[in-house]
Symmetry: D2
Subunit: 424 residues, 4 copies
């Protein structure tokens, strides 16, 4: 006979800020601990809504198990950030102005990571590109909602500090925390979502050595400010992190089926929201999520709506070009297809602009990650030949044709011939 | 530069029944292979709908990552069943009437497992208890839909054979396959969902040694019919399978938060479907899924609708009794709570009737699993002391009170006193 | 370009007691952190010798990958104990007399777990049974060696405190630590070796939910003393721990091949050490390890030596009885075999005396593990029906015959007939 | 009550070539199946000796759990090769001259992989460099031993065919099998040992997606001969395989502690075998293994023997250079150290010659791996931008100083200054 209690458990810690109060199973981190106040924040509608926003949008059309939402990710990013923060504090306690400051920063970081995704609309990027409002802008409005303000306040952190971390405010008093929340490289958001996306898609090559990476995190002083970097023992873990990102882009994020349905989705969203300002009011925005979009298109008869509903691939991949040197072959193929079938029949999907978020694609002159060595701080590209080799841009260029306007077999043959000729 | 093709790939196997044609990532089985015809079957609306029916209903309120749908499970059950079937055929090829028969049975088994869940309504058990129609009955209607019939036919299997396996028809010509599809013990459905639910909830103790279990499967002749059992080398794997089931029941399926929200859900469904015959027509039934239910309650103002929307626990657990010997204490507590707060305020949730599906709860006299030993076939309870010890029923009895009609702290104290007294 | 330094790293923490100084890969715990002083202790010959004592003796004859030594286990037990200790301290800091006391106890626990196995001889139990000296007695002598004393002293802990924890001294000042080092249930030794043995043998069903178990550990006051128990949220994890032990006993520790070669090994050891006092001197004892034994028997021509060298099974399993109710059939078979082939030809291997170390076999009246519930502390058998069902003894009885003195096939047939008759 | 039998099991398949007869646990492959005849081959002294040859030599000084021997690897390579072979046969059955030929090739491949490591001496590479005899040369002698010949013959395969595969005979009748046994890229040896070494060291970044890689293997015809390559769906898996190799080289195989003790080991071996022909006779060679070497140095008093026994690092790492562009700094540091402390005090360890075994280091003009695409076969460097970027050599250059002839801190400072200056 066991009696398990919820929040009113008389034996439990009564301090609502004690992180030890709640323990939630999580397959990526095994479990995540929460304070009562954090659990209450998560119960608010603005956060429960994250359960209806999928982390990977329509990627489940290619990876059927990738049905995970942003809700467990919020908790996971918080867990990962907490581990990072505790390691930084253990190694450099002098970077904090005493115990109270350290405790404040820890609560602040946890709160920002719990909330970092609340500004996302249905299907995130598709929604942004149709409505033209970045999720960071929505975040500010979400944090201003009455119950969210009260929830943040119950955590005894300042809502403006939280917002600064999420939107990456350059003037924040907490630059190291900002790196952990919204930085371009060693952020807890990415540390969690890479693990999580690999776990839920089943793409084994997307795993990296998170334990070693977190244990290697260090605070360095650079130009008077604290920057997050790694100890030289962590170079291999950092390499595995960089490679895992590449693998997930190559396998999942830019998978041709994912891209194809995201393209179709944009048509559906324009049909649902003919007025691009339809969701401007935060109240209306809050009423939308992935499930409502999918539900609302049940009765629509447009080609795009049917395609999403019945997983009809209205486009077909004609050819794919992933090497930098393929640019000419890609352009020749695109031109040939357009000439043959008309512009309407061809979709040239060129993903390279997104690469600036990878250290892989870091521009020359910009730093990637600082590595601490006895002969001083060096850039990760200097510390690791692998990371240096992976520098420069990566490209994922795809040519699709519309099935109802082109012969797929013929289009593929056309491209294959051009490619073979270009190789000779 | 790589060119990847979809179904029209000119280099691909043109035989639509070749299972090697498609390879889909799956985190539980790493990947699953499908024939073109199977992939087409899965693309039908009746099967795509499974993406919007969650495997574990509302358990995600307690296990946030348990968001997985029945769709990948259908493929996973098929993969597990195929492994089982191949092992049986490898060990006892004489049980099949030649290669053509073996190939037919393999296709049939795969088809039945792909389709075994199509009869489920939104939130499955809750839907059944509100509408009073078992999912098996719906299955028959689903298989009769034109496009589904055509899809089954394209697999070159008989739709009646498929139905017989799913509903467990005692007169089927394929009793061993029936065990693998809908048997009470060694069915591929359970073999997959236990692994899958453990994977997605993160409950580590729910894993079992599936590889050894599948490799131990054997066909035995018993009373003139083929029965599925295991080789004596597989006893430890079978033990781990039985224990994993127990662990998942104890941790997940009967978790108090899961049970509580399933109770609330029934109220919501009755509100949505005041007419219990509302979904009788298969066309209407097909229009419903978990996402639509969640979406439709967005604007409802009832207490139950709000509770689900905002994860409000309108009930609280007062005490939990999991041992057989706790019956008296349970009844005393229930009586005391009813006296104090009224019948309306108390919900006594007694889960034991479900136990007959576990070998744990197999009635005396009924067999569990045959184990082949050199001194003949013995029942698993004889082969394993662990399984014998776990025989008999298991109980999960819980007392909840309504938060708006009872003081939770007081109710818990009352129960705790009764329990302490009963122990002395 | 990276420069990695060893202990002289000028940037490293100079405090030799800082646990953050060294980070060692470990596949069970991912990595283990050590202080410089702990690393130096591990470099001593008395500890390096653990690399040549295998954790599972001759079990590698049945589980070829089970080649792991006690050396990484020492570090793993320390890592597990540290996690347990930190959890206890986080939940009940008032149990420590201030920070210095907490730090002392942590160092002491780590030191005791690093050293807990140093008293083992070659092949541990076989060595003990041949020489008649328990490993605990050797431990005292090992801790008295000059370099070991100095190494302990460098850790700033008292060698007598260390000894008290390892040998389970009832008068130790640190009863909770003693439970973690040498207690019968929740000791870090067992927590590590179960995980480790499951990992290296590949027996999947031996895994348990260590993360949840450790996070559930609590200190309770009982009769004026601190006892280690668990929080009610940890009951499922405790169940998985108990089941994992059972699984490892059933699959690995009492595997018939393991048992058979351990039997042969005893003959070999008696041949190597005709004088049972040969290793009494600690200096001589230190010169022996598993590898030397295996090496020394290279040139021996006895039947036992050849059997070990060439993996010749000089005994064969005739029958195995694992259920409590099998006692009569076991005795009948044993008698029949002895009558047929003579006492010399039969080895009856009855393992039940070892069971008292499992809660499974806890005598009535003795406690297993305390579980904290709001209605007070209860025994784990009361909190968990599964643990209650598993109470009582478990038996692994085996009958072997010598291959050169009995016909194996005939002996098996004889037993099978007796068993079949006993069932009817 | 269970009765488990060994080889005489009357119910078992009596065909000694049936692979289903024995099932052995293996943590990397979960379990491995063997025929009775294969199991008997493994029981021979020449193969049991592999239990006393460690896969990673002295790497356990840096990775304490890397204690695994070549014995389970032999079985694992066989398991991996079998999966590869079955996939090739499933996809291109026409490459085999009927069922009997396919069965022969399968048995042959399995046999060759079981035996592929029998020619290794103690500590493999160290032994080879001291004695000057390559392990391939020993292999021929081992296969000629009477009991080994008989064991191969019992498998119904030709011993010369086996030898041809192991030593990579260019005139073998089975070029595809030769690639799987001793090829430079897609060999089952490497596929197993990378997984195995990552598993036992605990280096998470050394894992790769073996399941997808194996499932992507294809036979192509090239210049009239069969070559092993991959399907274009397997490119990401191949990338993960290439990266995993890099990670294991960077983390484990060239770890400075591993390298340092391998250097010391060479001195020890020269002391043990003053005559380089000491082990020329195959009988004498067979008497040696890692354990005997470690045992024999127990009483030696040389500096090297003591260093190995007590894990004394007689050398210390002064600086490490892993980027191609570091050559000049490396040479400058080496010169400076030699000038300061004398040639005797410095060991410059330059690992680059080993890189030709990686596709990474494939010379321009040589192929890596063929990838099948609809526009024909292309080299993996063309199919994958990642593999192209990783082409060229990788370097691991290290400078060590002898601790008794140089000040470690000073040497490191000297190098650090040169490195900093070279960066400016």
């Amino acid at each position: 006979m066991v009696i398990r209690f919820g929040p009113e458990n008389p034996g439990a810690n009564r301090n609502p800020l004690s992180v030890a109060n709640k323990r939630i199973y999580d397959p990526v981190h095994r479990f995540v601990e929460l304070s009562t106040a954090e659990a209450r924040l998560l119960d608010l509608p603005a956060l429960q809504r994250l359960r209806r926003l999928r982390q990977l949008g329509l990627a489940y059309f290619a990876f059927p198990s990738a049905e995970h939402s942003r809700f467990p990710h919020a908790r996971g990013a918080m867990a990962m950030g907490t581990r990072a923060c505790d390691e930084l504090a253990r190694r450099a306690p002098e970077m904090f102005a005493g115990d109270a400051d350290a405790a404040y920063q820890r609560r602040l970081l946890r709160c920002a990571l719990l909330l970092h995704d609340v500004g996302h609309g249905p299907f995130s990027h598709a929604c942004e590109s149709v409505l033209g409002v970045a999720h960071e802008a929505r975040t500010k409005e979400m944090l201003a909602l009455g119950d969210v303000r009260a929830g943040i306040s119950a955590l005894e952190v300042d809502a403006d500090d939280v917002l600064g971390l999420i939107v990456g405010d350059p003037s924040t008093r907490f630059p190291a925390l900002r790196e952990l929340v919204s930085g371009p490289n060693l952020d807890a958001d990415r540390m969690d979502y890479l693990l999580r996306d690999a776990y839920f898609t089943g793409v084994a090559s997307g795993r990296y050595d998170a334990d070693q990476l977190v244990s290697s995190l260090r605070l360095f002083e650079r130009g008077g400010a604290a920057v997050v970097g790694i100890d030289s023992r962590g170079v291999v873990a950092l390499e595995s992190f960089v490679v895992a990102r590449y693998m997930m882009f190559a396998s999942v994020y830019f998978h041709h089926t994912t891209r194809l349905f995201e393209r179709i989705l944009q048509d559906v969203l324009r049909e649902l929201w003919p007025d691009p300002h339809a969701l401007d009011a935060i109240d209306e925005f809050l009423r939308w999520d992935d499930f409502r979009v999918l539900n609302d298109l049940r009765e629509k008869q447009s080609e795009a709506a049917r395609a999403l509903r019945e997983r009809k691939r209205t486009y077909a991949l004609a050819a794919e070009f992933n090497a930098e040197g393929d640019l000419r072959a890609y352009e020749t193929c695109e031109r040939a297809l357009r000439e043959r079938y008309g512009d309407d029949a061809v979709w040239a999907d060129e993903q390279s602009q997104v690469m600036h978020r990878l250290p892989l694609g870091a521009e020359e002159g910009r730093r990637t990650v600082w590595v601490g060595t006895p002969s001083g701080l060096v850039d990760a590209r200097e510390a690791s030949d692998l990371i240096a080799k992976l520098s420069g841009k990566a490209y994922w260029r795809k040519l699709f044709v519309r099935r109802n306007k082109a012969s797929v077999g013929e289009a593929r043959k056309l491209c294959a011939e051009i490619i073979s000729a270009s190789r000779a």
